[in-house]
Symmetry: C2
Subunit: 368 residues, 2 copies
């Protein structure tokens, strides 16, 4: 069993840097596109064997150090009574968006086995076969609330933020219901065999630190508290969150995911006591591999000599990515990570503020 991913989550020493990619199972892989010709996303997550197959495809092809359960962040929502459809090119579309306390009364309690039984069975199948750890995952409540209130994906989350300010009681009740659901969903994933869990807060970057601290962080704290006895690492990831990182870390997560819009060293410097995951710009893998390799090495250089780095992209693999480039990136990470200075124990945490690697946003090359 390759356990370097789990060891890095715990900031233990590793033989080399572990690597996996958000959305590694998906449209960049021809074998995934072949499955999608005969099955919708909902059909995959409702078919344990197919879901296991799709989850394991990137592990076989790319040599990554972790699998992540194949599902959509909206997958558990029908389990609390939300009708939705996943529309190609649009994403999930909610039948009846939630805008009021009355709308909330339609929601029911989440029963994991009833709601996502086939997905839990897929986890058991994956665990029987996988030689790398399996990461469970869920959307974070703010991001799920954004879908529920806006009715579909919305990068600005304006309707949700307006609800937060104009009707805080409804916002609070919605967030509380989503925390309950998510704790149940993730506990069931872990009970079925997931060895770590990642919370995706895709839209959290639309919030000011004021609103995050006051209106979102308390819910995230309750969510992480609801998982604390499970003894699995938790990964807390948001996009566009460079200005929120300390607040997100305060809310919880053994590992903080960084998107590509902050230097890894700069981000890590304001996250004492945490492991970090990230953070290559996914668009680099649409261009020549050497450009991606250069920035991959820059990221690894910022993490060198310090335990607790999991290499990943700063967001999901883009559909046009060549899987051969993903595989080459895995090899690059493993080779570079092996050449790193002897990794120190988790108890030792050098101050990045005084290290030459600390200013990750300082000139990366002699040319600037």
């Amino acid at each position: 069993m390759n356990d370097r991913f789990l060891r890095a989550c715990r900031r233990e020493s590793v033989d080399t840097t572990p690597v996996w990619f958000m959305r590694q199972a998906g449209r960049s892989l021809p074998e995934y596109r072949a499955v999608r010709e005969r099955a919708t996303l909902a059909e995959i997550t409702n078919d344990p064997a197919l879901c296991a197959e799709v989850t394991l495809q990137p592990v076989r092809r790319l040599g990554v150090d972790a699998a992540i359960l194949f599902a959509d962040i909206t997958t558990p929502l029908p389990g609390i009574g939300v009708g939705l459809e996943i529309v190609d090119g649009v994403g999930p579309v909610i039948d009846r968006p939630i805008r009021s306390a009355e709308d909330l009364s339609r929601l029911r309690a989440f029963d994991a086995e009833a709601a996502v039984g086939p997905l839990l069975e897929a986890i058991r199948l994956i665990r029987r076969e996988a030689e790398v750890p399996l990461i469970g995952f869920a959307g974070a409540p703010f991001t799920l609330a954004s879908y529920l209130v806006e009715g579909r994906s919305s990068r600005e989350a304006i309707a949700l933020k307006t609800l937060l300010h104009a009707d805080p009681a409804t916002f609070e009740a919605l967030m509380a219901a989503l925390v309950d659901m998510t704790v149940g969903y993730l506990r069931a994933q872990v009970a079925a065999g997931a060895q770590a869990v990642q919370l995706f807060d895709s839209w959290v970057g639309t919030l000011s630190p004021f609103d995050y601290r006051r209106s979102v962080a308390p819910h995230m704290r309750r969510l992480f508290a609801g998982l604390a006895d499970l003894d699995v690492p938790t990964i807390h990831f948001g996009t566009g969150s460079a200005g929120l990182l300390p607040a997100m870390a305060d809310a919880g997560g053994d590992v903080i995911g960084l998107d590509w819009r902050i230097g890894l060293g700069d981000g890590w410097a304001i996250l004492p006591g945490r492991a970090v995951q990230g953070n290559l710009d996914p668009s680099l893998l649409l261009g020549p591999f050497e450009a991606a390799a250069e920035q991959g090495r820059w990221i690894l250089d910022q993490a060198a000599g310090r335990p607790g780095h999991i290499f990943n992209l700063g967001h999901g693999v883009l559909p046009g990515t060549d899987p051969d480039d993903l595989r080459r990136m895995v090899e690059l990470v493993h080779e570079t990570g092996r050449r790193s200075p002897e990794r120190s124990a988790a108890s030792q945490e050098p101050s990045l503020l005084s290290s030459p690697n600390s200013r990750s946003d300082s000139c990366p090359t002699p040319s600037c």
Copy 2:
């Protein structure tokens, strides 16, 4: 003449905090919507009297401390040979996107009087009438390049970033041409009477610090150098740029604009020697005024006692905003700013790192 805006740009003492709003001239004002019923955006910028009228509407109604020239960031582009149309609900659409060195050869040199003569005449008209300073503006080259390469507004800028990595020579040549154009455009605005200029880099937040430092910052430095002899304050603003702020400040700007996704105190702490502008979440002005007022006071509190803060939103006024709320926000800023401790001289710069206001993202209220 109310000069508190210009004084704050220079970090001089002021009687109270100056305030203006990005997109203060626009769809939130009924008098603007009335103009738009009879004129397109291009017709407004081509009609000096109408452009001056629209620029001055918010100054009269809201009591802001600065006017900003009404134009679109694509307004100068036809002047270098780019055909475009501004489509309602979509924004600017470029006739023939630029994707290669050959496409670049279609561009011609910028002649400000020929390209934007009516806009320069509007500036002269505004200066005759306005009792507040007039801010000129331009889109920053990376953001303009995003329109030119993607063909329209694109939040991800993936085609442009792919060009940057796959064909750096074309990217460099395009950026260089846009710097030349923008220097000419802004110098003409200042010659006509603009008393400060703001660079809007709306899409710069899609870049990693690595790419920004290596591929964008040198062009921004050349742009600011091209304005250095003009003796007008420069404002450098990007969105989603919390992880890029030191790199953007290194590239230039007397004032750095902050969007709402970083605490103003946290942002200012990593911008020594600069004034800052911002940074209320514009969506707050769609909800009850008290929620906006609370966060407005939180922002002012982080800036209190330090010269060089210009209050603004973290991005443009949203179309559904009630102008009465904007006017009330101006009054709140002026009243709160007047009560601030005596403002120190620009030469004095207390370390925010050691002040209790420095951790702006720490708990904003007793409730969290």
